[in-house]
């Protein structure tokens, strides 16, 4: 308790204001990636490209969040919350784990330049976008176990077969390169947007 008091008075750690901003932006991030990704997620032949669709929209939100809360731990906490939520809503465990690892790494990447460098922030966004690919990496590492857990989860054999037909190394390459490109594009548009709209309006100090 005394520890909390100290951090509040020194204003070094995450303040309550930061925590609330993080909550609002976590909601925006989730909704954006769902809108972008839902179409990919439910189609068997496109399901591997879910991360590409999910990376398309949240870029500007992510960059504005980093501009408003440039502190260590912000991304990690958002990653934890989103992972817990996706677990509760019945996603595969690797997606939650991937999201957690992705956000931790993104936190580190952006932290190297104190969350101020635009290039590093965009790079952090690219790293963060790889979170949802956790499921598919789990698949590529061990297809056998994957099929069994997914079958137990209620995914039918046909779905797994359709996925098996589309899944080879080319797909993995397209997934990785596509995610990097789309995330970079989204981050690039985001940084332009922030410069044009938000810096002038004084939202970002």
């Amino acid at each position: 308790m005394s520890n909390q008091l100290q951090t509040n008075t020194v204003k070094k750690g995450l303040t309550v204001k930061d925590l609330i901003i993080m909550g609002v932006f976590a909601a925006l991030l989730t909704v954006c990636s769902m809108i972008g990704g839902i179409f990919f997620a439910i189609t068997p032949t496109l399901t591997f490209y879910f991360s590409i669709g999910a990376a398309l929209l949240p870029g500007p939100v992510f960059l504005l969040l980093l501009a408003k809360v440039p502190k260590r731990g912000a991304l990690a906490i958002i990653g934890t919350i989103v992972a817990v939520l996706s677990l509760v809503l019945g996603m595969h465990w690797a997606m939650g784990l991937g999201g957690l690892i992705g956000s931790l790494l993104a936190d580190m990447v952006a932290g190297t330049k104190k969350y101020r460098s635009k290039k590093m922030n965009i790079l952090a966004y690219i790293v963060y976008s790889f979170g949802p690919t956790g499921t598919y990496f789990a698949y590529f590492i061990d297809p056998q176990t994957w099929a069994s857990t997914m079958l137990k989860k209620g995914t039918t054999e046909d779905y797994i077969n359709a996925m098996n037909n589309t899944a080879d190394w080319r797909v993995l390459v397209i997934m990785i390169v596509g995610t990097i490109l789309v995330a970079w594009l989204s981050g690039f548009i985001g940084s332009k947007l922030l410069k044009k709209q938000f810096e002038k309006a004084g939202i970002i100090a």
């Binding site: 925006l28 906490i77 044009k196 709209q197």
Partner: protein, 237 residues
């Protein structure tokens, strides 16, 4: 205002921790279930829980939609083959995996007020750095949908098309007109929420108090036992 809320909620009140336990249990059932029959039982339980909480209409609609999906799966998909069959099976299996959790989460979020949730989480000894963003996030998601409607209306007023076609013909304009108000509204809302909650003493390092007694009661134990019966049954049989 509080009086009207109390009157509306003369039904049984549950501990927010119970709701989280129920969510975890239904997640386990939805992920490990061997047949859809157990999920039907689960949906019935959830509907019962919802009506006890005072969400009768929501529970009825939710279980009716589930029953329609279930019946269409049993009667239609068993007999058909081909690509459409694969597509539908894939889609339906995803729905069946997410549906119970989503329905229960809807009931839990709409019947729990933020103050109850916060003090229950405090009692469960979870760090405030996790609790506060989580509570804010759950409350903000419906607001995004509202904002989105207003933004669409505003775009139509200024002759910017908020559809996919507009995105292709004027990409820069559409993107700007979508993101700027959305993000502005979000950062304004965050600032106002922060000021409001600091004024109400959220930074107070003393343990929280709450007017409503948060503790496990007999109804909590009963409902948890009911929900626990489903995974146990599916494991034994």
């Amino acid at each position: 205002m509080t009086v009207t809320i109390e009157k509306k909620k003369q039904f049984i009140r549950f501990d927010p921790r119970t709701k989280i336990i129920l969510l975890v249990l239904s997640m386990i059932v939805a992920t490990t279930t061997p047949s859809l029959l157990y999920e039907c039982v689960l949906i019935l339980l959830i509907a019962g829980f919802g009506s006890v909480c005072g969400k009768v209409r929501y529970s009825l609609i939710g279980s009716a939609v589930f029953m329609a999906l279930y019946l269409s799966t049993v009667f239609y998909l068993e007999n058909s083959t081909g690509t459409m069959h694969t597509m539908f099976t894939a889609w339906l299996s995803l729905v069946f995996k997410v549906y119970p959790g989503g329905m229960l989460a809807g009931i839990a979020v709409s019947t729990t007020r933020v103050n109850e949730f916060l003090s229950a989480m405090n009692k469960a000894h979870i760090s405030r750095k996790i609790i506060i963003p989580l509570a804010v996030m759950l409350r903000y998601i419906p607001t995004i949908r509202e904002d989105w409607r207003y933004i669409k209306d505003a775009m139509r007023l200024r002759d910017v098309s908020p559809s996919i076609i507009g995105l292709f013909t004027h990409p820069g304009m559409t993107v700007e007109c979508l993101y700027s108000p959305l993000l502005m509204a979000a950062s304004k809302a965050a600032d106002e929420l922060a000021i409001a909650s600091v004024t109400r003493g959220i930074e107070n390092p003393k343990p929280r108090t709450c007017l409503i007694q948060i503790r496990f009661r007999i109804q909590d134990v009963l409902i948890i036992l009911c929900f626990l019966a489903v995974p146990v049954a599916s494991l034994c049989c």
